[in-house]
Amino acid sequence: MRRTLPLLACLFLASCGKDDSASKGQTLLVGYTASLTGKLSVESTRQTQGLSLWVERVNAAGGIKLADGRVLKVASKFYDDESNQDRVQELYTRLVNDDHADFLVSPYSSGLTSSASVIAEQYGKVMISAGAASDSNYAQGFQHVFQVYTPASRYLVGALDLVSATAPDAKKIAIVHENDKFSSDVAKALDAYARAKGFSVVLDEGYDSSTTDFAPFLNKVQQSGADAILGGGHFQDGSTFARQLAEKGVKARFLALLVAPPEPGFGELGTAALGVLGPSQWEPQVSFTAEAAKAAGVAWFGPTAAEFVEAYKAAHKEEPSYHAAGGYVAGLLLEEAIARAGTIDGEAVRKALESTDLFTFFGRSKFDASEAAHGLQVGHEMVLVQWQKGPAGKLLKQVVWPPQGRTAEPLVR
């Protein structure tokens, strides 16, 4: 037993192994954790695929060019955080110290991103946060974290704009949301926006994350007589909600749900999916082009939407979702900032990101550089999709908002 201590010591040191994945000078290493297992695994995996696609394409195009003439290839390394807070800090410390990551990307969810940000901030490493959409991450005083997605507070405001534009007499709205960080953030901001715009919020309630039976809740919604129902949670809730709503015959002219509607699988619900709106960070049909960028007087960077979709389809045999696009753009924004700064020095890249303002196939990207909300995404807007009957009678996803990018007129249920 006296051998236990040295044995243990050896085990410790051995397991905190050195990993020379970044040979300094020639390769740039981007490190992150992903939810490979656990309930967020599907979305997180797509994001990882998007980011990996960017790494491939950057290297295929030669690499990132620095001011001193060096051209750097990019490599990425990631670990599974299991959608749990437990090891996030441990894994990010490992990425920084042992794997010598030059830049970081955030974990997929907002709660985990907070923990990871402490590490990023401590080591002065720039961290691009893809996936995590919570506003509160950026009110914590971190100066090194930059958000790709539109924040939660702006997720559904477009839906209210659509309602007032399409049916000005619809004044009663019901907000129903999953009781988790993300959905609650969306609901809180939505409630404030609705009241400011003169809507009457007849119901504003959260349901527990484990709820599968929305029947009692729906009865309440039905009895409130709302014209528009907005909210939801993650995919399961949106899907179940839409289905049970249709089965109950709840009459609402507008139904906008989080996360679920942009998923291709949502259309399988059939009639229940008809007319359902959903906010999306990005859709393949939405075309942000170099010309539109020029017209807005803003720089353009990266591939076109068509190029991205094609490359992704070739690699993964399926259409990219906005998670994948978010992952890809995280890399793009980093690449552009590094190229503009001309160096991989953390502070210089950070300053470059603070002044980023450009269009990519994803939309406009610009970060808040103020102390109070540093890193918050202020340039990007959500698009709204709606499921409508296509020519063959099949349900198709159309982009109905903003008016500039729409592929079809919104329909009222």
Partner: protein, 286 residues
């Protein structure tokens, strides 16, 4: 007020019968061998996937599919008993709890690995029926009916067949049952299988109502715990009644409070019953 409550209460009773079915599986196992089956959740999930696979793969009507799922659940349960539970059937509680929990971990791990955490949907609709202020969906009615049928079959089995009587005997007093020549190992294995079979059937029925993933079983497992305590550990009828009660609570609470308070009320009730009347409403068998 009644008009506001009635739809939710009706929905609650219908789903409550299905919850009760799942809980019956749990309580049966406890009643017979004093083991709380912590792999109950994964059995429910297996039932969900079974019905889903038969529906999407073979186009089998989900309500017919549950029969196949019941058989599968029985076999799975007997296997789990043989591998994990048999050795610890006489050991202290903790061993049984941890053994079944280990099985749960294994099944969940395999499930996540091979089935991923994608949501699945059994897209089977039977329309809806309106009776006054209440609109009930066809699938919910059918699922409830199916659960009631299975409950009836279970009772028929327990009270009218020899095997059923043997199970009740072992539940009553295992040593005495062995003394009169009952092969207790077989009975234990059968009971465990029966318990998991009920869980699987309940899962299959739930799959016709709500979307699910591999991880969904956990939520229903927690509900089963609450129900068996409400009804009395080891008492199948208690489980059924407890299930209906829980369904009513889930239906009524959102009308008066914010829906997010439902779990608080549920678990507070759970703890309260444990403190005030641990043998449950109908009295426990142990």
């Amino acid at each position: 007020m009644i008009a506001r409550l009635l739809p939710s209460l009706v929905d609650g009773v219908l789903i409550g019968v299905i919850y009760g079915l799942a809980a019956m599986g749990l309580t049966l196992i406890f009643g017979v061998m004093n083991v709380i089956n912590l792999s109950h959740g994964s059995m429910i999930a297996m039932g969900m996937f079974g019905v889903y696979a038969l529906f999407t793969g073979a186009g089998l009507n989900p309500f017919v599919g549950v029969a196949a799922v019941a058989a599968l659940g029985l076999v799975a349960g007997v296997l789990v008993y043989a591998v994990a539970v048999h050795r610890v059937r006489n050991a202290p509680h903790l061993s049984g709890l941890l053994a079944t929990f280990a099985v749960n971990m294994i099944l969940m791990g395999l499930g996540t690995r091979f089935l991923s955490t994608n949501f699945r949907n059994v897209d089977f609709s039977l329309g809806s029926f309106a009776l006054g202020p209440v609109t009930v969906t066809g699938t919910r009615l059918a699922a409830c009916g199916c659960a009631a049928l299975v409950t009836g079959l279970l009772y028929g089995f327990l009270y009218r067949t020899r095997a059923g009587k043997e199970i009740r005997a072992v539940a009553n007093d295992r040593a005495a049952a062995e003394l009169v020549g009952i092969r207790s190992t077989r009975v234990l294995a059968l009971s465990f299988g029966l318990g998991t079979s009920l869980a699987a059937v309940a899962g299959g029925l739930i799959a016709t109502l709500f979307p699910f993933t591999v991880l969904s079983g956990g939520t229903y497992e927690l509900k089963s715990f609450v129900i068996v305590v409400l009804g009395g550990l080891g008492n199948p009828l208690g489980a059924l009644i407890g299930g209906v009660l829980l369904g009513l609570v889930e239906g009524a609470v959102p009308i008066f409070l914010e829906a997010s308070w439902v779990p608080v009320i549920e678990f507070a009730l759970f703890v309260l019953v444990l403190l005030v009347r641990p043998q449950g409403l109908l009295g426990a068998r142990r």
